[in-house]
């Protein structure tokens, strides 16, 4: 479904990603891990089209999207939950969620129900300005917003950051449910070992801008092995 081949990307002139090869099969949940600053966020931005690769190619669903713009990719079915709290602060919670829908022609009530089911607070605060939500609530909103677009490929950048433990567990389960029920393919970045173990079918490890290793299910199950990639 997604294939990166020798991708190199840079902010201005400083190269951040170097020669990244990576692939995600249809229906898979793939994790990306690595220490701070190795380029995980940059990788997801490049996949989303917010950063143009200077070398290499990206193909999605069999078509080459290396030079497609972000909004084109979004319309092609890639959804993105940015790291941090990139909600639209001056739009209401409801409008933020509606933004997730812009790429679809009509809204799907059942998706809303599902999201409100996961995060009831979003329904309670529907008309509150998103910038005034608590940190964790904003993160929930970002997730909910991406889900209404019902993407084929969902990119998640540290979805558990700032979220209370009970909901973190719930999110990992929900993602799997979404993956099972809707067949959504997921590529996600995480620091939380628990989440990686819980969610990922497969996992890439990054170091200094490039993919250094691929971890299969058995390695992922091994807590110490993962810790090694994240810690050293």
């Amino acid at each position: 479904m997604l294939e990166l081949d020798g991708v190199t990307a840079a902010y201005d002139t400083t190269p951040i990603l170097r020669d990244v090869d990576l692939s995600v099969e249809d229906g898979e949940i793939v994790g990306v891990m690595g220490k701070n600053g190795v380029g995980k966020t940059t990788l997801l931005k490049t996949v989303m089209g917010l950063l143009e690769p200077s070398e290499g190619s990206i193909s999605y669903d069999g078509t080459d999207v290396t030079h497609a713009s972000a909004d084109e990719r979004a319309r092609a079915g890639i959804g993105y939950i940015p790291q941090g709290r990139d909600v639209f602060p001056k739009l209401t919670v409801e409008q933020n969620i509606k933004m997730g829908e812009t790429i679809r022609s009509e809204s799907d009530e059942t998706l809303y129900d599902q999201i409100y089911d996961y995060f009831p607070v979003l329904e309670e605060r529907a008309s509150q300005e998103a910038g005034t939500l608590s940190g964790g609530q904003q993160q929930m909103l970002a997730i909910g917003r991406a889900l209404v677009s019902n993407p084929d490929l969902l990119l998640l950048d540290e979805p558990s950051e700032g979220i209370q433990p009970s909901i973190v567990d719930q999110i990992s389960q929900d993602m799997q449910t979404i993956n099972d029920d809707l067949g959504t393919t997921i590529l996600f970045v995480e620091q939380n070992l628990g989440v990686i173990r819980e969610m990922a079918d497969r996992c890439y490890a990054m170091e200094r801008g490039t993919v250094v290793d691929e971890l299969g299910p058995s390695t992922i199950a091994d807590e110490d092995a993962i810790a090694e990639y994240l810690a050293v």
Partner: protein
């Protein structure tokens, strides 16, 4: 003597002037974070286009006014592509130098001011070179209504009506439609909006175009009643800036409210003490409003609402 009808009509007059002066600026400033010092020249473009469309092309006045707005809107889009976003120069430089030469001016208040100041010099002088120091003016339609010893231009009442209509339409567009939501989302976080499938380039372009078209329409609407010369836009600037900022964060609502408040002050003081005092009163009221409502009127209303809810 304070005559009730006089005062009411003058209030409508001031209200329309302030609201129409401010509307285009408010959108471009409030939504895009660009202070457009060429706002007056956008008004000029609208006024000249409408006037020339009547005198040269013989178009009916109403059509000419719409044309004035549209032409200015198109000019705004051109301005946005070339200067504000730098999209066209960057397209060329990408292919020749391999890099962008212009950073978009969104949310760069001072830089956008300098750039649009430069643009305003070019436009004013350009109009002067092309059309001379003035062009012939068109007559005011609709005649006058009179009451007692007083009479009043019907057209000014029409203007008040139009200004309210434009406000409502703009308010609806930016708060109630998907377009408005996307435009606001684009300005708040461009990358995330893109990731939501919004063509942000087009949003910037259209928003700027709509703001410009409103400025142009203002010029067209006032074309019959103001002197047609290249600096005609200047007379709108002060009221426009004051109204936008006194209005506060909710662009359209703010403009309407500040148009109301400032219009009432201007009308009352001009009526009682003459034009000079009216003007000073308007400005001093604006200073005081900004000092005591640093978030503008709509910011203040927001606070009031919160406080009321608290005490419930």
């Amino acid at each position: 003597m304070v005559n009730g009808i006089n005062l009411a009509l003058q209030f409508l007059d001031s209200f329309a002037f302030i609201v129409l002066a401010a509307a285009g600026l408010a959108i471009i400033f409030g939504i895009m974070g660009v202070i457009n010092l060429a706002h007056g020249e956008f008004i000029l473009i609208g006024a000249y286009t409408a006037t020339l469309a009547v005198t040269q092309l013989g178009l009916p006045l109403v059509v000419a006014m719409v044309v004035g707005g549209l032409v200015t809107g198109l000019f705004g889009i051109l301005t946005e592509r070339v200067i504000i976003s730098g999209a066209w120069p960057n397209y060329i430089s990408q292919r020749t130098l391999g890099r962008d030469v212009i950073d978009p001016l969104y949310d760069r208040l001072a830089d956008s001011m300098v750039a649009t100041f430069g643009l305003s010099l070019i436009l004013t002088q350009g109009a002067r070179i092309r059309f001379g120091n003035s062009i012939d003016q068109i007559a005011t339609p609709f005649g006058a209504i009179s009451y007692g010893a007083f009479s009043y231009s019907t057209y000014r009442i029409v203007l008040a009506g139009v200004s309210i209509g434009l406000l409502l339409a703009t308010y609806y567009l930016f708060t109630r439609t998907d377009f408005g939501m996307r435009a606001r989302a684009t300005i708040q976080d461009k990358e995330t909006a893109q990731a939501m499938g919004v063509n942000t380039d087009r949003m910037y372009m259209l928003t700027f175009g709509i703001g410009s078209a409103l400025a142009g329409l203002t010029g067209a609407l006032f074309a019959p009643v103001i002197s047609m010369q290249p600096t005609l836009g200047d007379q709108f600037l002060v009221e426009a800036f004051v109204a936008v900022v006194v209005g506060g964060p909710s662009v359209v609502l703010g403009t309407a409210l500040s148009g109301g408040v400032l219009g009432a002050i201007l009308a009352t003081f001009s009526n009682l003490y003459g034009t000079f005092i009216g003007r000073i009163a308007l400005l001093v009221a604006a200073l005081i409003a900004l000092r005591f409502l640093p978030d503008g009127i709509t910011g203040f209303i927001e606070q009031l609402r919160q406080r009321r809810q608290e005490s419930d």
